[in-house]
């Protein structure tokens, strides 16, 4: 925690009267004040609990097909109705939620690890290392990501990758294309942090570069990273749903919210059986919105400028 309090951005954020509280406590207090953030956290917890534990309480299994019972509207037995193979939609939405949430988290982890590492290296070493990394970032930021993801998705289809392995590739694909923004932010912070006194102290102690970066510089950029990570999960879930809707992301039989919504591509299902595609769409909506609420509240909480306005 000592390195964190050394960050001038965070310490100046603390008004003199509350000097004793750590920046983390302050940030948490701030987040707790935001009703929307509380709403977001509660919705996310519910979504996780329902998706990961809900299927254990479902009387149905995903493998029992009952075509005679297919395409039934919502009822007491099937709260959200059934699909064309007679599978329970509620159960499928929950299982799809596991996949979609997992895709969001892994994609975020990939993007955050690459982004913060490369950003830190660029900011710390400067010179030609920085130039090369920044050039790569410039190039990646100039390529529109959705069209590129669509091509990569169709390559996966052409290579006939089995659906079970495909989800992992999709996660990495989403992560690898979204790190440049974070890398730029982290680099900017590290550039100013490395000129400060505590880094001179680290220098005079003769610490290794890796220790300086991982123990002293990166921990000071954690606020940016956390905000970015929260918003990145939502973004990745949104992207995954678009790709899967086009049939280029997670493909059946693995259910995901996106590929469940693609049921709407069938005209009859679209017009007459909204229970097939509206529930997964609402789930994407609620989840992404909750991540945005929490991310926004965190950004306000960590941002010294916005706090002084209160």
């Amino acid at each position: 925690m000592s390195q964190v309090t050394a960050n001038p951005n965070v310490t100046t954020a603390a008004e003199p009267k509350v000097k004793s509280a750590s920046p983390w406590v302050l940030a948490f207090r701030q987040v707790r004040q935001s009703k929307l953030a509380i709403f977001g956290i509660v919705m996310l917890l519910l979504m996780f609990l329902i998706c990961f534990f809900g299927p254990f309480f479902s009387p149905y299994t995903i493998d029992t097909l009952n075509i005679r019972n297919g395409n039934k509207a919502p009822s007491a037995a099937h709260w959200l109705g059934t699909d064309n193979l007679g599978r329970d939609i509620l159960l499928r939405v929950m299982l799809a939620g596991r996949i979609s949430l997992l895709v969001g988290f892994v994609a975020m982890m990939v993007s955050v690890s690459i982004g913060s590492l490369l950003g830190a290296i660029a900011g710390f070493y400067r010179g030609w290392v920085d130039t090369i990394i920044m050039r790569i970032i410039d190039i990646m930021m100039s390529i529109p990501s959705l069209p590129l993801l669509i091509i990569l998705g169709s390559i996966l289809s052409d290579w006939k990758i089995p659906p079970s392995e495909r989800i992992y590739i999709v996660m990495f694909m989403l992560g690898i294309l979204s790190w440049p923004g974070l890398a730029r932010l982290v680099r900017g912070q590290i550039l100013s942090l490395r000129e400060q006194e505590f880094m001179q102290a680290a220098e005079s102690l003769g610490l290794r570069d890796s220790k300086k970066i991982f123990r002293h510089l990166l921990p000071n950029t954690i606020p940016i990273i956390i905000v970015n990570a929260t918003l990145a999960v939502g973004g990745a879930i949104l992207m995954e749903s678009v790709l899967s809707y086009l049939g280029l992301g997670v493909v059946p039989p693995t259910p995901s919210w996106g590929n469940m919504i693609s049921a709407a591509n069938n005209l009859i299902d679209f017009q007459k059986r909204p229970w097939l595609w509206i529930p997964p769409g609402v789930c994407v909506f609620i989840t992404v919105m909750s991540f945005n609420f929490v991310g926004d509240a965190l950004r306000d909480a960590f941002d010294p400028k916005s706090k002084s306005k209160r």
Partner: protein, 318 residues
């Protein structure tokens, strides 16, 4: 200023070369091509066609051929449309620009008004509701919003056409044709506006909040200036300055075509053509379009930075 522009334009060159190399290597990973997917031609004819279009050469050689042609403004031949790539882009892009321009105008007007009012009445019930709606719109997948709009507004209510650009088989001309077009634009423009208004509203709210807390606003109020004048003349004008740079970032969005929205509403724009081209493995078209977009993005960034330097005297461009 001149130095800044020259340096930035020179920097664009390696970036665009890098983009083209990445894109070309991605495309060379795709197995098959347009000729392979056509099963009606004989093997000899296929080989001949491949030779004509240079598809039998190794990828590196193909890249240099493509790049040298691209420098001359020739982005290759679209197999699917049977014309040059530039012609295809020119034919469809204006349909995309049409809905993009309309939705951009609406987005900016709505975002400025909502953003300003939620900043003025910050933390009020109005601000809370607006924030909630704005975040909701930012979190909706574009295709889901499009589907909902078609289902409830077009199909169930019948208030707007389901899709397309003109009514099929309609031979209307003149004023009736324009009206038909406008009617078909309702849903796509609404959806695009709804998707875009969120981020911009947040932006205006934040920048208005910054300004309203400035001393000169307090001075204006203290000397008895009307509140509406304070907000719209003293505050909003200054809040708009940083927003001008956003116009630079909007440049690619204006021409890129909303891929998903155009597909959902069957709008004959460049975004939908791109998605279709994927099914036909029409590489030159895909490649040409992506290069065009990247070029616009790079140009938009330059424009944003330049505008920022022009409108804000505190920023000095070096």
């Amino acid at each position: 200023m001149k130095q800044f522009l020259i340096r930035r334009i020179l920097q664009m060159i390696p970036t665009l070369i890098g983009v083209s190399i990445i894109l070309f290597s991605v495309f060379s990973m795709v197995p098959g091509n347009f000729i392979d997917s056509n099963q009606t031609i004989s093997a000899e004819r296929a080989a001949e066609l491949k030779h004509i279009h240079g598809l039998d050469k190794p990828a590196t050689e193909r890249y240099f051929i493509w790049a040298s042609n691209a420098l001359k403004g020739d982005f290759g031949y679209s197999f699917q449309h049977k014309v040059d790539v530039t012609t295809v882009i020119d034919r469809y892009i204006w349909n995309s620009v049409l809905i993009a321009a309309f939705s951009m105008i609406f987005t900016w007007i709505i975002a400025i008004f909502i953003g300003v009012f939620s900043a003025v009445k910050k933390y009020s019930l109005y601000d809370g509701i607006i924030t909630f709606i704005v975040f909701g719109l930012m979190s909706l997948p574009s295709f889901f919003l499009g589907l909902l709009a078609i289902k409830f507004i077009a199909v169930d209510m019948g208030w707007a056409p389901v899709g397309g650009m003109y009514t099929t088989g309609s031979s209307a001309t003149g004023f009736a044709k324009v009206f038909d077009l406008l009617e078909h634009m309702i849903l796509p423009v609404t959806v695009l506006t709804a998707l875009g208004v969120g981020g911009l509203t947040r932006y205006f709210r934040t920048s208005m909040l910054d300004i309203i807390n400035q001393d000169y606003i307090r001075t204006a109020r203290a000397k008895g200036v009307k509140e509406s004048t304070v907000i719209f003349k003293h505050a909003l004008r200054n809040a708009l300055i940083p927003a001008i740079t956003l116009l630079g970032f909007e440049l690619p969005a204006l021409f890129s075509g909303a891929m998903i929205t155009e597909k959902i509403f069957n709008w004959p724009g460049i975004g939908r053509v791109y998605l279709d081209a994927l099914n036909y493995r029409d590489y030159f078209l895909l490649m040409g379009y992506l290069m065009f977009l990247s070029f616009l993005t790079v140009l938009g960034n330059l424009l944003a930075d330049t505008l920022y330097g022009l409108v804000d005297p505190r920023v000095r461009l070096k």
